[in-house]
């Protein structure tokens, strides 16, 4: 079920400002790919182009190709709504729906898409919550509001919500940056389990995290403020962190700039 992503010649714009320029990379299925780089270099923007969330921002525009297996996400006649069902997303700040209970939050994707059988809903919610390692903590309070959980639990609830619709790819935009180390560990463990089933792409500012969870790492950088961000290199995580082929990557990782 996991799918491969092939990006070629991708640029993204905010109105007339070009945020990222000419990015090409391949993202392997059933693996974790981490994006690192200084703030403002376009990691998140690039991530959002992978499920057509970039164009939700007013003025957002994309050029280039993103192939999900053999379909171009930006091809003619592609419905962004269907793309987002295939490519799920977890955001930086936990954002459970405040009007919904824990159960309803997980069921939200299915219910709002109208694509479910009533009898299966309970099972899917349980499976998703178990998949997000949250079931044991919330099984007695499924009908309580989702916003009453702790920050780390809320983030895992959001992951459960994202995997409940069975996407092929899961995008994570700094999923741990608002969490404490213990919740972070829980989510990192979870990422390790989820990669058996999904293609995972994670943006992180935490280099140790990238080294711990990812199989491949991409380094993004920008030459100056106001210039578009670029992909500097992508390689196996081990190689990026031990012996990168570009000097800038080594400088960034060892903390010499950025």
């Amino acid at each position: 079920m996991a799918k491969r992503i092939d990006v070629s010649g991708l640029s993204a714009y905010y109105s007339s400002f070009r945020a990222i320029e000419d990015i090409s990379m391949a993202i392997e299925p059933r693996s974790v790919t981490a994006f690192i780089g200084p703030s403002g270099c376009g990691k998140s923007t690039f991530l959002r182009t992978l499920n057509r969330m970039h164009e939700v921002t007013p003025g957002g525009r994309v050029e280039g190709k993103v192939m999900l297996d053999d379909e171009n996400l930006y091809g003619a006649g592609i419905d962004p709504v269907s793309v987002r069902r295939e490519v799920g997303m977890v955001f930086q700040r936990p954002n459970p729906f405040p009007t919904m209970s824990v159960f309803d939050n997980v069921a939200a994707g299915l219910r709002l898409n109208g694509s479910y059988k009533k009898s299966e809903l309970g099972d899917i919610v349980e499976k998703s919550l178990k998949g997000a390692n949250l079931w044991n903590e919330v099984k007695d309070r499924l009908n309580k509001p989702g916003s009453g959980l702790s920050g780390g639990q809320q983030q895992r609830l959001c992951i459960a919500r994202a995997i409940a619709v069975e996407p092929k790819v899961l995008l994570m935009d700094e999923p741990c940056s608002a969490l404490d180390p213990i919740s972070t560990l829980a989510i990192e463990d979870l990422i390790g389990e989820l990669k058996e089933r999904f293609t995972i792409v994670i943006v992180t500012h935490n280099m140790q995290q990238a080294a711990r969870v990812s199989d491949r790492t991409a380094f993004f950088n920008l030459s100056a403020v106001g210039q578009p961000g670029k992909l500097i290199e992508i390689d196996d995580t081990e190689r990026i962190f031990s012996n990168p082929s570009v000097q800038a990557t080594e400088d960034y990782i060892s903390g010499r700039f950025g």
Binding site: G88, F97, P145, G148
Partner: protein, 353 residues
Amino acid sequence: MSQTVNDRRPSSLQGATLPKWSPYAIAAGSIALGLGISAAAGLDSKIQWGLMAAVFFVAASYGIAAKVEGKRQAKDRVATSLVWVAFLLAVIPLVSLIWETVKRGVKVLDVYFLTHSMGLVTDTEPGGGIYHAILGTLEQVGIATVISVPIGILTAIYLVEYGRGRLAQAVTFFVDVMTGIPSIVAGLFVLSFWIIILDMGYSGFAGAMALTILMLPVIVRSTEEMLKLVPNELREASLALGVPKWRTITKVVLPTSIGGITTGVMLAIARITGETAPVLLLVWGSTFINTDPFDGPQASLPMYIYQQYANSGGSGAAYDRAWAAALTLIAFVMILNLAARGIARWKAPKTGR
């Protein structure tokens, strides 16, 4: 003076503080002083001693606090006392209005009054009631609400969720202009269009149309503000699940803001319930019960109050009825407000565990 405080305890974080009861003592002293001066000077106005007391209160708060606590705390106390004075000045007219209305209104307000029309009771006689006016108000306000709530909420959704560029700017501009339309102008507009050009008769519906014009911008504005308060992250979370935009709006954005939207609608209803001018022009008024808002003149509470006052030639019975109707109107608006608060609290996003 403040320097002495600083000099006395140069290294301490602790400073002298006035006792907790001091604001009350200062207030009591100021009132006594105000009363004393007005008695001595022989002023018979009830307002002057109060204003004097307010000025003394603010000044004394500053002076005493500056002497004991230092300049910064003194400024703090001045701000606090100004807030209190402003609060009291705002509350006095409100309380006296309600007091006066209740005192005079309860005289004839009973079940008979609420369930009977004026019928053949002439304006100078005692008796009669406001059933026909309550009915008219409910129908006119109800029709105006039914028309303007969907249009207003949909307009606000367009402005917040979809509106880009010229059209949205134009809509925002016209909504702002509509907010400033005096009610008599709305009434005259419907009068010239509906009654003079289209040659329709006076009816509750004509009044409801004018009320709609007044209500619409209030609903658009308040709903817009409420929708803007919904965090963008929730919209993105829903979109990222592959939920279409229209379902995101109906199932995530609206439920999150429904409490605030309801409050806005209720306040808009409260605002138009008291409108007299357009009703006077378009509904014409009647002393009989007319249940059909689409045909023939009706009454309404604010117009009833006006007519009892204006057409009765100073008859005490009519004045009593006017006060009782005013009390009913205030109670009606207050119940709506309480209902709005209840709904807002009930529907507000829950945070409890």
